[in-house]
Amino acid sequence: MTTPFSSILLGLAQEFGRRTLSFLIELSRVTQLMRRVFVEIDGVVKDRGLFIKECVTLGVNSLPLVLLVGIFTGAVTGWQSHYQLEGYMPFDLIGPGVWKSLMLELGPALTGLVIAGRVSASIAAEIGTMKVTEQVDALESMAISSVRYLAVPRIAAMTVMMPILVIQSVTIGVLGAAFVLTALMGMTSHQFWGLIPNFFHLYDIFAGLLKSVFFGLSASIIGCYIGFRTEGGAEGVGAATITAFVWSCITILVLDFLLAMILF
């Protein structure tokens, strides 16, 4: 005999199973898309005009937002480090601390999240609109691979542009922290910059940039995948935009943790 409690448990188990299965199916389809992107990656060279256009649209045009996020992140990190370390540690360590925080974590992760909002969602909206208005079918009917034409340039552009954006974000962030601490908190320039060379390791730059490559790759692949599976007119495009943003953010946060475990 089934009690109401056991039927609720059964329902929950069924729902959990259904969602897990659906997630695994989606994951396998994303993997298939990635495989096709890698198979057709020579499109970057053959259609370099498209690649350069996407570098400008997705990368260069994201620069103002990335720089804004970078400078404020640096400024806040500097300010709060000063507040937290006051009386416990010498101020000379704030500069290296800010530099390391920005290069290893805040720069790649926050730039990744900003890109997830701006780029992944816009890729999903653009390809999604093309899908629901049959423009993707039109490309395929002309014997033009939609993956090669739409996904490859966007994914390659984001993978290349993301580390460049992160370098700029970290640079402006450190300058922002230096400005706040020297102009507003009374630290000397020597106090801020003095110990940074001692704590400067090339591996930190490598690790931060490797993270950013993965973030750019994952945000753009998710945007493309969700764009390609969009259905149902304007409502579907709206839903695709939100889904791309949410999944890109989740993927970046999970990848950030996994990469931290592997790299450090």
């Binding site: 049959e134 079918d137 009917s141 002309m142 014997a143």
Partner: protein
Amino acid sequence: MIEIRSLYKSFRDKQVLRGVDLTIENGESITIIGQSGCGKSVLLKHLVGLLQPESGAVIVDGRNITTAKRKELYDIRKRFGVLFQGAALFDSMTVEENVSLALRTHTNQETEKIAQRVEECLTLVSMNGTQKLKPAELSGGMKKRVGLARAIAMQPSYILYDEPTTGLDPITADSINDLIIHLNHELNVTTVVVTHDMVSAYKISNRIVMLHKGQIIFSGTPEETQHTTIDIVHRFVTGQADEQPYVITRY
């Protein structure tokens, strides 16, 4: 020649095609009619491999496209030109870029030659001079003409039209019909049209087939279609609804 053999296709729980059998001879101008949502566009998309059937085969010039590898499928697709229902022009490109896209991708022709071919195609559809316009600046009829110019740019053997006159006023629709006939004669292509516009179907086809409940239930010349005694076909072509009792609810 295109042969469709026992084609089955469903979307989730809805069975759309239930064993479609149809042969389209070279040079034919065939129209597939049927009620909205009966699967006409789905059938059309199978002809170029845009949809994959659950079972059955689509054989184009002796090659089964349902089992073809991607490269072979793309080779076969180069023989097709498709005019989509909403024209499906690429918003971000000008008319010239839309029409020349396949030429730029698949041929090594020089820019001047491509521009010349674009002009030829646009002239054929009476749209020469619009090269620099964006799709957003065109009317519905103009978009269809440009879509048609794009479809013929690679000199296809088959041209597929998905609802070419839907959403157009009667005069513009008639001009599209004339254009289809003109292109059929001028380019000597096989034409497959999907429509529920019977004026258009009678005018442009030399054979009409009807798709009903996922199967081809009728095939004949326009004249045979007009005089058919098959009830469902007769009611469709004369625009008579099912005789169903309607319940009027008072609120």
